[in-house]
């Protein structure tokens, strides 16, 4: 079953259902699928959560995931991880699951579409000033844009925009290229070699999810820590 044709580079082009002006494409459908999997599985696990020594297998798994996320956030931000965990953890889990599910036949990662990755990058773009302002106030946050002199203001703004673009294109390019490379390899060396590339693709997907979350954390930390460093 071929869902994404070889001359299409984005799952946005696959229309599943259409009514009047409402169009349901593969990207939206698979995004909903991932959201449902994340929400329902964590609801099922946390429903019977215990603080006993004997925890269930699934609770143990989720606890290890959350504590790993907290450790990573603490190492990068040098700060209390609880305030960032909701945002960074959601980004990581969503991208991770959407990349890892590519091993299921018939599934196309929503992160292989530029719209999904652009939405994620834009949410990071808005989260940076939100965390920065709540952390150090409006005046101190916007003062950073005029450091060292006011001439540097356009460069700071350009840096913000270009790193958002880079965040979106990096994730999109990595996941989309993996799909395309496997498609091309199937034509050249079928049967065995694409399997190795699939395994490599799982690794790439995991690393990209990790990098997206870590970079978002680095951007947020750099926006919210400069003030404290000046006093230290």
């Amino acid at each position: 079953m071929e869902i994404l044709k070889s001359n299409q580079i984005s799952p946005d082009q696959i229309l599943i259902w259409e009514w009047w002006f409402i169009k349901l494409n593969a990207t939206i459908l698979y995004t909903w699928l991932i959201m449902a999997i994340l929400v329902i599985s964590s609801w099922l696990v946390t429903r019977k959560i215990t603080s006993d020594i004997h925890t269930s297998r699934s609770q143990n798994f989720l606890e290890s995931v959350v504590s790993t996320l907290r450790d990573q956030i603490r190492e990068v931000s040098q700060d209390e991880p609880g305030q960032y965990l909701a945002f960074i953890g959601t980004l990581f889990l969503f991208i991770c699951l959407s990349n890892l599910l590519t091993i299921v036949p018939g599934y196309i990662a929503p992160t292989a579409s530029l719209t999904t990755t652009a939405a994620l990058a834009i949410s990071v773009f808005f989260a940076v000033p939100l965390y920065g302002i709540t952390k150090q106030g409006v005046w101190n946050y916007f003062k950073e844009y005029f450091q060292p002199t006011f001439i540097f203001f356009p460069f700071h703004v350009m840096g913000e925009i270009s790193r958002t673009l880079a965040l979106a294109i990096r994730l999109f390019g990595n996941i989309m290229s993996h799909d395309k490379v496997i498609g091309i390899l199937l034509a050249v060396t079928p049967l065995f070699f694409p399997i190795i590339m699939q395994a490599l693709g799982l690794l790439i997907g995991l690393v990209q999810a990790y990098i997206f979350a870590i970079l978002a954390m680095v951007y947020i930390a750099s926006a919210s820590q400069t003030h404290e460093k000046g006093h230290a």
Partner: protein, 89 residues
């Protein structure tokens, strides 16, 4: 040679050249980064976690330059706006 042939030829050649030239720099840069990180890990094995995390993040940032080239060559081959313009006419 009509304009359709010309655009197809230029797109394919440009896509190949984009990948060929655009992957040289990131390849050299990644090689240098890994080399430095390996020698740093060999000198200070205790700092392995920090070094590995920094290495992964910087490798991804270097690699994104090659990925930009790949995206551009993919656009030239699969979603070429000039090609669509000429075909539609």
């Amino acid at each position: 040679m009509d304009s359709v042939t010309l655009i197809a030829m230029a797109s394919i050649i440009a896509a190949g050249l984009t990948m060929a030239i655009g992957s040289i720099g990131p390849a050299l840069g990644e090689g240098r980064a890994v080399q430095q990180a390996l020698s740093a890990i060999a000198q200070q094995p205790d700092e392995r976690n920090t070094l590995q995390r920094t290495l992964y993040v910087s490798l991804a940032m270097i690699e994104s330059i090659a990925i930009y080239c790949f995206v551009i060559s993919m656009i030239l081959i699969f979603a070429n706006p000039f090609w669509a313009h000429v075909i539609a006419k």
